[in-house]
């Protein structure tokens, strides 16, 4: 087994333009939120995100305009946290992001 421990910034540099990311967690639960926030400080773009019930971790990448497509069964933050604001902003009205709802 190989030691794979690295700083957040170096791990975020593994993500390249156009990649499809499977974002873990559910709604507001155990999302890789800080990793997504670190990605917003990088120049990476044209990302796609997927998950059965993606939440705030994927929402951040739609909010930042870095993801242009989301595959999902359900996409929201649930309970008092409500709808996913970044996803709505990216997809509603003039939004350019694509929603691929998979049920």
């Amino acid at each position: 087994m190989r030691d794979k421990l690295m700083p957040l910034s170096k791990a975020a540099d593994l993500i390249k333009d156009g990649m499809l990311l499977g974002v873990g967690g559910n709604a507001m639960h155990r999302n890789p939120t800080l990793f997504s926030l670190e990605l917003t400080r990088k120049a990476v773009k044209d990302l796609k995100v997927c998950g059965a019930a993606p939440g705030i971790g994927a929402d951040i990448l739609l909010a930042s305009g870095q993801a242009d497509t989301a595959y999902f069964g359900f996409f929201g933050l649930e309970n008092e946290a409500g709808l996913a604001p970044g996803m709505r902003k990216a997809m509603e009205g003039e939004g350019k992001a694509r929603a691929i709802e998979g049920s």
């Binding site: 087994m1 910034s9 499809l20 990311l21 507001m28 155990r30 890789p32 800080l34 019930a53």
Partner: protein, 166 residues
Amino acid sequence: MIAALRAGAYGVPFLPVGGMWGSDLVDIRPEFFQIVKDPFGDGEVVCVKALVPDYAIIHVQEADIYGNARILGPSYQDALIARAAKKTIITTERIVGTYRMQEEPRLTAIPHFLVEAVVELPGGAKPGICFPEYVAVDWDKHKAYQKAVKAGEVKQYADMMLEGRA
């Protein structure tokens, strides 16, 4: 979605799914759903295309430096997403010794050979929840996120949330 990720994990280009009959999604997204003839009979079956993420990004409570990762509490689809993806990046509340995995091997949700990077990142799911480390949403930080999205200031929000981290 789960069938699409399973197809990715199994290494097949698509999987047949039950339960999609009658859904408009089949017509709306032909690039994701297709109806094909049952190869064994006269009927038809809805198929969903495999999803193979380039990376799975999974936050966990415990991982070792090699990428063996444990999820405490609900695991959702995370073990499946890691298997569907080409590689996985783990962010973890804490680094633990590999002896933790050896004590209870069946609790390793994601094994090291699927993992490309491990980041020690306590609070990595904030402002959300990471049971049992922090069990309530940080509402002040979440409201700040909602405001930042509306104002188009997500990068400034990221700078605030990541302040003091390498």
